[in-house]
């Protein structure tokens, strides 16, 4: 008993000293320093804007209040920035990346027929994720499909409608196709629209009747000009949590169940691994104390009411970011690690099926 008490006391003392040491590291280390955050897309786009928004608030929550600058490193759909962070970025805790890494996790864990994404030299598994969020999307259809759609469950028995996708291999297309297939909904698969704005115009002129938008485009364009005017009806969104602001849309898993489908099996696994993630990474070899400083900085930021209010004012929804390597490993990376190459083969066949239609 005595021994365990003294062991406990010693452990507690070490933990306190380590935490103090870490805070002391952070407080003194980042004091006067500049942190560079590299964004893997060009300036002005939604990825750039949200990374810059997060970066503009982050400094306040890092001990030492370093200066943060954001730089765009577009190219190769994320390859250039990822390679840079892996190979060339300083490994002293002053470089971060803000990336959309899912394709690279798929390559790493599934293998793209033995070939990496074009030009990718980085092993994304060695990058250190410190904060991330699943990119939320909303799927909607024209309200005049079939006999009229007012609720997500009204598609039952509706005639074929045309989808407005972006490309056969895009995560968005795979995502909505898998949900519609799981729910047993009939559709004609049309794809090739450049972006959500292009597809939205096509929906408005009834060239196609469905699209899946990211939240920024949905909230700023589709909702005010389509949903609120009764032209389109939102069906489901990619989060598993209920989001009242997106009503009458429901979580995708509930959508499948309402149509008598079962969210299980390879098709469901494919859906779960098709969602995009946006995350902040440190290069491999970054000191552990620096990684913890960022994790705790993000945690403080995400828990701060002022930040949450600013985020909601900008993006109309509360932030669904998570901080910490353990949580990110479980939520972001594990689905790929668990699913393995059999899912990669299934995905290839699923894409080929669309190609032949």
């Amino acid at each position: 008993m005595k021994r365990s008490a003294s062991t406990l006391a010693a452990t507690a003392a070490i933990a306190i000293l380590a935490a103090y040491g870490q805070a002391a590291f952070a407080a003194s280390y980042y004091d006067g320093k500049t942190i560079e955050i590299s964004v893997d897309r060009g300036s002005g786009g939604s990825q750039d804007r949200i990374c810059r928004f997060m970066a503009s608030h982050l400094a306040t929550y890092i001990e030492g209040k370093p200066k943060i600058v954001v730089r765009n490193r577009p190219g190769g759909t994320g390859v250039v920035a990822t390679n840079w962070l892996y190979d060339q970025a300083p490994k002293d805790g002053t470089a971060l990346g803000c990336f959309l890494p899912i394709r690279f996790y798929q390559d790493a864990y599934w293998g793209t027929g033995g070939k990496k994404s074009l030009g990718l030299k980085a092993d994304v598994r060695k990058l250190v994720p410190v904060a991330g969020t699943a990119v939320l999307t909303v799927t909607y259809v024209r309200s005049d499909v079939g006999g009229g759609i007012k609720a997500p469950t009204d598609l039952k028995g509706a005639p074929f409608f045309k989808t407005g996708g972006q490309s056969i291999t895009s995560t968005k297309d795979i995502s909505f196709r898998t949900i519609f297939d799981l729910a047993g909904i009939r559709y004609n698969y049309v794809t090739g629209y450049q972006d959500s704005a292009d597809a939205w115009a096509a929906v408005l002129r009834n060239e196609v009747q469905q699209h899946q938008s990211g939240i920024p485009h949905y909230m700023k364009v589709v909702l005010p000009t389509g949903v609120n005017t009764g032209k389109v009806t939102p069906l489901y969104y990619s989060s598993t949590q209920r989001i009242p602001e997106l009503a009458p849309a429901i979580p995708a898993i509930d959508f499948v169940k309402k149509y008598g489908g079962k969210p299980e099996g390879m098709l469901w696994d494919l859906y779960q691994t098709s969602g995009a993630w946006r995350a902040f990474f440190l290069p491999p070899g970054t000191p552990e104390a620096a990684a913890r400083a960022f994790e705790s900085g993000f945690q403080r930021m995400l828990g701060d009411a002022a930040f949450r209010a600013a985020y909601k004012e900008r993006y109309h929804l509360a932030p669904e970011w998570i901080a910490g390597r353990t949580a990110l490993d479980r939520e972001m990376v594990d689905p790929y690690r668990r699913s393995g190459k059999s899912l990669a083969s299934f995905k290839k066949g699923y894409i080929d099926k669309a190609r032949k239609k």
Binding site: V80, G119, G192, A201
Partner: protein, 491 residues
């Protein structure tokens, strides 16, 4: 909100501090950005966008719109004096603007360009207001089949951009269409002709390609010649006044070019990269003595410059009406609006009509102010054409390289610049037309995408859609006109 009240509020706020200050700041930044090759309105708006979030909505719109509106006015400077497009919208201006500078008529080119830019910008802005009742129907009447046919129409204009060698123009545009396939396929998203490099995954970058195609051959020629750009001395002030008179003389061309600009701006996805070519090609097709185009004809400056300013107003229309950006910078403007709590569609067309009028007012005011400022500076600007060419070579080369690098900030942008520069040099030397390459690179992806979508959605019945039939007829008309002209010039 009653329209009169909204107009008074929207226009009035532009005259009040700090909004007026931000408007002038935007104009100043836009003028500088337009002069520097390779930057363009999109880069400027992207850089200033985060700052605009901190301002009130009127100041934010004044800053962004002031900047965006004038880049295609000041881009004439490098196009005329150096033969290097200041933005992608001044490529066609080079064809006659630069020869005018060499003929000692830089002042005349500037006088015509700035006058017609101001008129085009003002009319483009007024079109937004006039079209309010019918905006939605006009924009939504164009679908994938119509976009495809518009792109094809743009391609057949290539014959008029090929001087006396339409067959060579056709060969070049086919080559450019093949080049436009480098990157990833629009339907499958898979790499295509990328030679295993990540850089080419996004396709051939237009800015370094165009800068290389036009700038490098001119730089080499300047260096080799040793003399000034202007082979003949000219009076810049008299030239400027002559240029302004030319606009009145060719008023009907001005009207048609503005109509083309607004029209192309209204159609989302076509954008400023082709509007100058379409206007120029239309001028060559329809004006008398077309053989003078390309030798320093002021009409070859009037047409593209009127169109590339009018397109800005046109692009506002679908952006505000239905939230579909008429051009890439409009996508960013949309972001700025929504950050300030204003949505496209019923919101800005109803409750926040004052913001719409403020945007249009900024567009109109900025065009007038920029044109006036640049007209005042014409005399000094025109003198640059008299500077010894070897003294300018380094400046032009650095500006072109810097502009190229802005594409993706990768060293490969310079490789692209050099590769197209070598190509452009030999094409110029052997009298092969270079403009069709620009058209092919821009229109190729549009043609592929919209043809695929048209067939996927409609089968082949889209060929009989009413607007498509009209466009088909136009294509045939343009082709027949070109063939007849070609036979006449030989015989």
């Amino acid at each position: 909100m009653p329209m009169i009240d909204a107009a008074l509020q929207g226009f009035g706020v532009l005259l009040v501090w700090p909004t007026v200050g931000y408007l002038f700041l935007g104009i100043a930044i836009g003028i500088v950005v337009g002069i520097l090759p390779g930057l363009g309105g999109l880069s400027a708006v992207a850089i200033m966008l985060p700052f605009s979030f901190l301002l009130d909505v009127y100041s934010a719109m004044a800053l962004l719109m002031g900047m965006y509106a004038v880049t295609t006015t000041s881009d004439t400077i490098s196009a005329v004096l150096l033969g290097v497009p200041g933005t992608s919208a001044s490529q066609a201006t080079i064809l006659d603007g630069y020869p005018m500078a060499r003929n000692g008529e830089a002042g005349r080119a500037f006088g015509a360009a700035y006058t017609v830019s101001a008129i085009g910008g003002v009319v483009g802005g007024l079109c937004v207001i006039v079209s309010l009742p019918v905006i939605r129907e006009v924009v939504l009447s164009f679908g994938s089949p119509e976009f495809f046919m518009l792109a094809v129409l743009g391609l057949v204009i290539v014959g008029s951009l090929s001087g006396k060698a339409p067959l060579r123009g056709l060969v070049v545009v086919l080559f450019a269409l093949a080049l436009s396939m480098v990157g990833s396929s629009p339907q499958e998203g898979l790499p295509r002709y990328t030679f295993d490099t990540a850089y080419l995954l996004g396709g051939i970058k237009l800015v370094p390609a165009v800068l290389g195609l036009f700038a490098l051959p001119e730089v080499l020629e300047l260096f080799g010649r040793g003399s000034s750009i202007a082979r003949l001395a000219g009076d810049p002030t008299r030239g400027m006044v002559q240029g302004m008179r030319d606009v009145l003389t060719h008023w009907w061309l001005v009207v048609r070019s503005i109509a083309i600009g607004v029209y192309i701006g209204v159609i989302p996805g076509l954008g400023a990269s082709i509007v100058d070519w379409v206007a120029y090609g239309h001028a060559v097709q329809t004006e008398k003595n077309p053989e003078r185009f390309g030798t320093g004809d002021v009409r070859g400056v009037i047409a593209p410059e009127a169109a590339n300013n009018a397109v800005k107003g046109g692009a506002l229309i679908p952006t505000l009406a239905i939230g579909v950006p008429g051009s890439p910078p409009m996508a960013l403007l949309l972001v700025a609006l929504t950050v300030h709590g204003i949505s496209p569609g019923p919101d800005i067309l109803g409750q926040r009509l004052d913001v719409l009028f403020s945007l249009v007012g900024a567009l109109i005011f900025a065009n007038i102010v920029a044109a006036a400022l640049l007209l005042v500076a014409t005399t000094h600007l025109a003198r640059i054409a008299e500077i010894r060419g070897t003294n300018l070579v380094a400046i032009v080369l650095v500006a072109a390289l810097m502009g190229s690098w802005m594409a993706t900030r990768a060293v490969e942008d310079w490789y692209t610049f050099l590769a197209f520069g070598v190509l452009g040099y030999f094409m110029k030397r052997w009298n092969w037309p270079r403009p069709p390459i620009c058209l092919g690179l821009v229109l190729g992806p549009l043609i592929e995408r919209y043809l695929h979508l048209s067939i996927n959605v409609y089968g082949f019945e889209w060929l009989l859609h009413p607007l498509v039939v009209v466009l088909e007829a136009l294509v045939v008309l343009v082709l027949v006109t070109q063939i007849r002209r070609s036979y006449r010039s030989r015989g």
